[in-house]
């Protein structure tokens, strides 16, 4: 029987992070992909903080996460908890637990709508306690709440210039990532794309690290009007232009969707699915963080839609929100133009909502909600991909609901190639073989589409290749092949060449 104490149980409350500690304390963070993590580090350093990116989570981290926290966690939490604990254990060995608690704090995303992800402070707390790190400071940032001072002290000032820096960092790295995935499967010199991307991200790191300081209001105006970032992206575009590509390789295009963490990270947490798909001969269409944030904006504004006519000022707030949404998209497109409009556009949230409406209600939040259904239908109807690869953590509460609703979508569109993968961290072979089955069909479809396009245009591969040889600029990674009525890159290229040769 338990022993009674006179003290009631209280939750873990970290000691605040104070302004005076800024020079001596390093902020740890992670859980995204390496490009944005590196640029966020630059934003934090630009704002006067010491920042360090946690190493990419591994299977060892998964096992540690399962070991030190409560049973039954979803796998993103096991990965991130274990990742933090293993990093701290390594530091403890070198400088001791007391010093670690003094020198580091951990910052991570908190709330996620109705999902339990926002309630995992308990798991982190338990993991830290079980690792002898009770005094370590960890702070959760609610995704819909910026002012965290009450909880974390005045050490971290999430002010407007820093928030804008993070946002612009997301835009820029999304654009780089998108182009990278369009180019790498077709590169003539293996490894060239990776080298250019590494170079570009390091370049962006410096750009964001040296971002001029502005007062909050001036920062808004400056970010919206400055050529500082467009110039930087034009330089990235120039770096990409050195890559020669062979777009006549017929590859199925696979769009990644799913739970935010799993669709974003690149590594063991999602079985390295991006690289695995490329190795299997696919072109990956990655999931942009920009789209996720646009979705969050839409979710927030839906509240005002619902309260229009009920709550005073709701219409005005909705109108202002729509303006903000417009500025958001305008900014992304402005930066996208600096990259030659090569990266994919962000889909309209209204279109995604409309497409998903018969299958999933737009107000159901948690996970990707109706956007998961909307994106699959958007990619299908607009021929953006041959196949959808949907990554869902094992036992993810909101995503299983959206996936279940997809049964209705597949019922109506049986030729939509949809591979929902349940990711547990282990059981990799099972998930990948499932994906491989659908990918095989996608490959056949891409080849069929390519053959149909050749037949339609009356061109042969040799004729297309000869045309490309006659126009070497078309073999540059930065040459823009317009999106025709094919999903595949090779088929679109044939259509484009046919247009140029007047064969259509």
């Amino acid at each position: 029987m338990a022993i009674a104490t006179t003290e009631h149980y209280r939750a873990y409350t970290p000691k605040p992070f104070t302004r005076a500690e800024r020079d001596s304390v390093t902020i740890l963070f992670g859980g995204l992909h390496w490009r944005i993590e590196r640029v966020l580090q630059a934003v934090l350093e630009n704002s006067g903080y010491r920042a360090r990116v946690l190493p990419i989570a591994t299977k060892e981290d998964l096992l540690t996460g399962r070991e030190v926290a409560d049973i039954g966690q979803c796998c993103p939490t096991s990965f991130t908890t274990g990742n933090l604990v293993n990093f701290l254990r390594g530091e403890v060995k070198q400088i001791g637990a007391q010093e670690v608690a003094k020198r580091y704090i951990y910052l991570t995303a908190g709330s996620c709508g109705a999902c339990r992800f926002g309630q995992y402070h308990q798991s982190y707390e338990l993991a830290l306690r079980n690792s002898g790190l009770d005094a370590f400071r960890m702070f959760l940032m609610a995704q819909d709440q910026l002012d965290q001072k009450a909880a974390m002290g005045d050490g971290l000032d999430l002010n407007l210039p820093m928030t804008l820096g993070c946002l612009w960092g997301i835009f820029c790295t999304d654009l780089v990532q998108d182009l990278e995935y369009q180019v790498r499967p077709y590169e003539v010199v293996p490894g060239q794309t990776d080298a250019v991307v590494k170079d570009s991200v390091e370049y962006l790191y410096e750009v964001f690290r040296n971002r001029p300081a502005r007062t909050p209001y001036k920062a808004v105006f400056w970010h919206l009007t400055t050529p500082y970032f467009t110039r930087a992206l034009r330089e990235v575009y120039r770096k990409f232009s050195e890559i020669e590509v062979d777009r006549l390789r017929v590859k199925p295009k696979v769009k990644i969707t799913g739970e935010f963490y799993l669709q974003t990270v690149e590594g063991d947490p999602n079985y390295n699915i991006h690289r695995w798909l490329e190795a299997e001969g696919a072109e990956v269409y990655p999931a942009a963080i920009t789209v996720w944030m646009d979705y969050l904006l839409r979710l927030g504004l839906q509240r005002f839609e619902d309260y229009s006519g009920i709550e005073k000022g709701a219409r005005l707030k909705l109108g202002l929100g729509r303006v903000a949404q417009g500025i958001y998209r305008w900014t992304f497109n402005r930066l996208r133009r600096a990259m030659g409009s090569l990266p994919h556009e962000i889909p309209s949230q209204f279109e995604l909502r409309r497409l998903a409406a018969p299958y999933f209600h737009s107000r159901l939040d948690g996970g990707e909600g109706d956007m998961l259904v909307g994106k699959a239908l958007w990619a299908y109807h607009r021929k953006k991909a041959h196949m959808i690869c949907e990554l869902s953590p094992y036992s993810c509460m909101p995503n299983t609901m959206s996936i279940g609703a997809m049964a209705g979508v597949i019922g109506k569109y049986p030729d939509l190639l949809y591979a929902p993968l349940e990711i547990k961290g282990d059981a990799e072979v099972h998930a990948l073989s499932r994906c491989q089955m659908i990918l095989t069909e996608a490959k056949k479809r891409a080849q069929r589409e390519f053959d149909d396009v050749l037949a339609r245009t009356g061109l042969t591969v040799d004729e297309v290749r000869a045309s490309l040889d006659a126009h070497p600029e078309m073999k540059r990674a930065t040459y823009r092949v317009p999106h025709g009525d094919a999903a595949g890159t090779a088929a679109d290229l044939v259509l484009h060449v046919a247009d140029r040769l007047g064969r259509r």
Binding site: Y9, G72, R363, L364, I403, G404
Partner: protein
């Protein structure tokens, strides 16, 4: 019933699906599942199937609202009162199983009505329900719906008040007789005999009064006695504030479970807490340790039945029930005495 009655629907024309059972799932829900998830959501296929295929008289409407927020007694004291993401989205998920081959509802001539409802935002509810019933109930006006919603809330409050009064009577009896009672910490669907498997009924058969946390009395005198000291010490701002044990208070039922654990730790006559949790419940999962810690630190007995699924594990439940009652028999008096000694004087339960 308050809502439908006010809309002029004859109560005899409102049909509820029966309690959950494995048989119901087998007979009416087989092959309709679209994903593997917790039983409280999975079993809804059987409920839908029973309403569509298992009625003597054909139904016109299948009403299954998507409930986004719950009207909790903790509203205003916590961050949000959201329902579980699976529960709120269940109607969309289960619907897919009835649409994937053919539109079963249309074939049966049934209108499938699943309005999205934020029950903890009363100003919004008439609009949401009116839009949900548009074209379904001919001639329905916004005003009629607003009035009906008002009556629905009144019926709900009256029901809750009645049960809370009953719980208070039980607690006062326990205080008067210095007898132990048990508190059940679970989600509302565990009151369904097919989901909670009537474990609390088995315990009650041994003579121990059972209280459900959802209907625990919230009278100011009792709350002040139980939580006044914590408020004055600055741990919490009100009796329904749980920031001292659970800062991320987004989920309504999770919040109430955490609050129930705090109450159990403070009320001397609650000598034992029984926690029920369904298989794969992601909302319960992060709460296992804090709930147990809150309760056990006060010396209260804590037993949990986790991973409940479709089949009642009758044998193991019987053994567990015997264990629980054995411990209660042996330690209840001691627990009550120790908890009484630890609490402030002047308990309102013991004064009548």
């Amino acid at each position: 019933m308050g809502l439908f009655g006010a809309l002029g629907i004859d109560p005899r024309n409102v049909v509820f699906s029966s309690d959950t059972s494995e048989e119901q799932g087998r007979q009416f829900g087989k092959g309709r599942g679209t994903v593997d998830c917790c039983y409280p959501v999975k079993c809804i296929s059987g409920h839908y199937g029973e309403l569509v295929f298992g009625q003597k008289q054909k139904l016109d409407i299948l009403f299954s609202p998507m409930i986004y927020t719950l009207p909790s007694f903790m509203s205003g004291h916590v961050a949000r009162t959201l329902t579980c993401p699976r529960v709120m989205a269940a109607p969309e998920n289960i619907k897919a199983g009835f649409l994937k081959e053919a539109d079963v509802f249309a074939e049966a001539g049934i209108k499938y009505v699943t309005p999205f409802v934020s029950l903890d935002e009363p100003p919004l509810v008439p609009k949401q329900l009116f839009e949900g019933f548009q074209g379904v109930l001919p001639g329905l006006t916004r005003e009629e719906m607003a009035k009906a919603v008002g009556e629905g809330y009144q019926a709900l409050h009256a029901f809750n008040d009645r049960l809370r009064r009953k719980s208070r009577e039980v607690l006062e009896w326990c205080a008067r007789e210095d007898r132990a009672c048990l508190l059940v910490l679970a989600r509302p669907y565990h009151m369904d005999p097919g989901i909670g498997h009537e474990i609390e009924v088995d315990l009650q058969a041994y003579g121990y009064p059972i209280l459900w946390m959802q209907y625990f009395p919230t009278d100011p005198d009792l709350m002040d006695w139980a939580f006044g000291e914590d408020i004055r010490a600055g741990f919490i701002k009100s009796p329904f504030d749980i920031r001292d044990v659970w800062p991320s208070s987004y989920s309504s039922n999770t919040n109430e479970i955490l609050w129930g654990a705090k109450v159990a730790a403070r009320i001397p006559w609650i000598a034992c807490v029984v926690r029920l949790s369904s298989y794969e419940c992601g909302m319960d999962q992060p709460t296992y340790t804090p709930v147990q810690q809150i309760i056990e630190r006060s010396g209260t007995l804590f037993f949990s039945f986790q991973d409940l699924d479709s089949t009642k594990p009758a044998g193991s439940v019987k053994i567990r029930v015997e264990t629980i009652t054995h411990y209660l028999e042996k330690y209840a008096r001691e627990i009550i005495a120790r908890k009484k000694a630890a609490m402030a004087p002047g308990c309102p339960l013991a004064q009548r």
